[in-house]
Subunit: 344 residues, 2 copies
DNA sequence: TTGTATGCGTTATCAA
DNA sequence: TTGATAACGCATACAA
């Protein structure tokens, strides 16, 4: 039988280390604070004692003293969308590189948001970063009330303390329309995301304006409503089939819906991409590059967006009053793949 | 111009609320602690004062007093794999339902792990949950040293304080072999994940044993090495092609590789699934259900795994000494789809 | 460079 | 039910 070590009653504190090392408690603190004035000899004594006791500095008291937790609340929904998952990965990495921890809050719907925010705030997070695309005034007010910096991605939220970093949704929609017109297509479909999603709205408006600007009068735009899921993209094409509409081009508000739509066109309507229908999506998720889809898509350049978010955070942390609001637009990059490449 | 409110110098504390409400600071604490003895009248006074000042309780001091932060460190890698993304979503939801916060730590490789762990521990997290599949002794020792409960998914880590919850990788591999044999296939391929991935190893062993037990002597097993990515699955099939091998069945250690392999078979080798090659994957990621793949897969039942993890955590929190180690196996559920459905 | 003393914002204990 | 007080573990100002 393995001898079980003594159960830990109390965590090892700096006082324990100080006692063992024969120094004061402040010396221990100094030994673990880079740049503080301490002799090498004392430092080594302390570190040795700490090592032997298994001491690990406790950041909690420092939070009380400094008023800064170095934790950022990340509020996210829809991790089943690979776009959000990879964006979270980038964000988490960037935050950590800047010495910030991620207190993650996954919310299914906006209803639970208030409660979630209260929980986050009780941990004295320094800021909130969120990708929730809910464009409601209630949410904006709830966020503003917290009086901590908030950085939103692809939202239309406005208010004190709230900054926004958006992909150039409108411009990308416009570009999609131009690309479709260039290829001579005349029966385009716009497959929208959730109704209250600000990004989807902007993409749709840009697309419409692009068609109007370029298109002759013979353009027949069909608008369909999805909810950003694969299934909704598939279902949208089925509704086209029922209506007897045969599209020749499609722009979807995100890649998941585009993949669903492409599969439905193949399986249910015997239409091929790009021969019969050219297609564009948004987000450039990994699956867009998979050979079965080979989908042209707009890349949001999450790397840039995340970098910008960190600049905003740093600025907010330095300012006394960071209630000032900013909005930034990041260009989306068109990634052309086979779904818009016409055969010679 | 909008009048800017006064910059917040100091957060509102319970003392501020107490002063405004004309009560003691303990009364404020009690007003926000459900179940404590306080008159309705006092409580209302306090809540009103708190509301008007925008006071929000601060959990940080409570962490110092109780020694429990109610934060769980979640260490994860590979969010670009939809399986991990959706698993994280489930885990985060379950933790929150149990009053636990998620302190997220994304690690790219095991090298940065030590550093990452130190950071987590300095926030006095109550436990660690990780899906890292690195089976190294060094990692296990680093985790054990922390002296806090650790719950691993699909790992082979052992040691004090470490509990493990594994999918029945071996059993599933065995079942995959039986399914392939039943369909009369004789040239199976095993497409492994990263070499040091414990789950992949177990799946491969189970598969091999299944083949040996069932198969006649005419079975020719081909083993290929991947790294759990789509591209590695694609590349693996190209290597088969170069060797002039035409498989009739394939079991991949995860769905991403299976998707890559299926695309390569179609695009590069003119082999169709399931007609020429029947295929099975693992994880049952959403994409496995997409029509282009329609991939038979083993579902890890992450819901059950997460529920089990929370049981372990609760148990650990109640026990004085939770250094005892457990291992749990959760059955994987075979989800049969078109990739193993032979035409009549 | 080192040690002493104070304070951070709560909760728990105790007395009233 | 209420209020005063101690305690949590560390960082910092100050004194030595």
């Amino acid at each position: 039988m393995v001898t079980q070590e003594q159960a830990v009653i109390r965590a090892v504190t700096s006082i324990d280390v100080a006692r063992l090392a024969g120094v004061s408690q402040s010396a221990v603190s100094r030994a673990f604070s880079p740049g503080s004035s301490i002799s090498d000899q004392t430092k080594q004594k302390v570190l040795a004692a700490a090592e032997s006791l298994g001491y690990r500095p406790n950041r909690i008291p420092a939070i009380m003293l400094s008023g800064r937790s170095c934790m950022v609340g990340v509020v996210i929904g829809g991790l089943e969308n690979p776009f959000y998952a990879t964006a979270l990965e980038r964000l988490a990495t960037a935050l950590r590189e800047n010495g910030l921890q991620v207190l993650l809050m996954h919310v299914d719907d906006a209803l639970t948001l208030d409660n979630a925010l209260d929980q986050l705030v009780s941990y004295r997070i320094d800021a909130i970063v969120t990708s929730l695309a809910i464009g409601s005034k209630t949410v904006a007010q709830a966020l503003s009330r917290l009086r901590i910096p908030v950085v939103c991605f692809n939202s239309s939220l406005v208010g004190p303390w709230i900054s926004t970093i958006n992909s150039d949704n409108h411009g990308a929609g416009f570009a999609a329309a131009h690309l479709i017109m260039e290829k001579g297509r005349v029966r385009p479909v716009w497959l929208a995301g959730p109704e209250r999603n600000a990004a989807s709205l902007a993409r749709g408006e840009g697309f419409l304006q692009g068609l109007q600007q370029t298109g002759a009068s013979h353009i027949e735009l069909t608008r369909l409503q999805g909810d950003d899921t694969y299934d909704s993209g598939y279902e949208a094409m089925l509704s086209l089939k029922r209506q007897g509409i045969r599209p020749d081009s499609l722009f979807a508000s995100n890649d998941m819906m585009a993949c669903g739509a492409m599969d439905a066109l193949r399986e249910e309507m015997d239409l091929r991409c790009p021969d019969d229908v050219i297609m564009l999506g948004y987000d450039n998720i990994p699956q867009a590059a998979w050979r079965s889809y080979d989908l042209t898509s707009f890349d949001q350049c999450t790397g840039k967006m995340v970098a910008r978010a960190l600049e905003l955070l740093e600025k907010a942390f330095q300012a006394k009053d960071s209630s000032h609001s900013h909005t930034h637009i990041i260009d989306a990059k068109l990634i052309e793949r086979g779904s818009t490449r016409l055969p010679l």
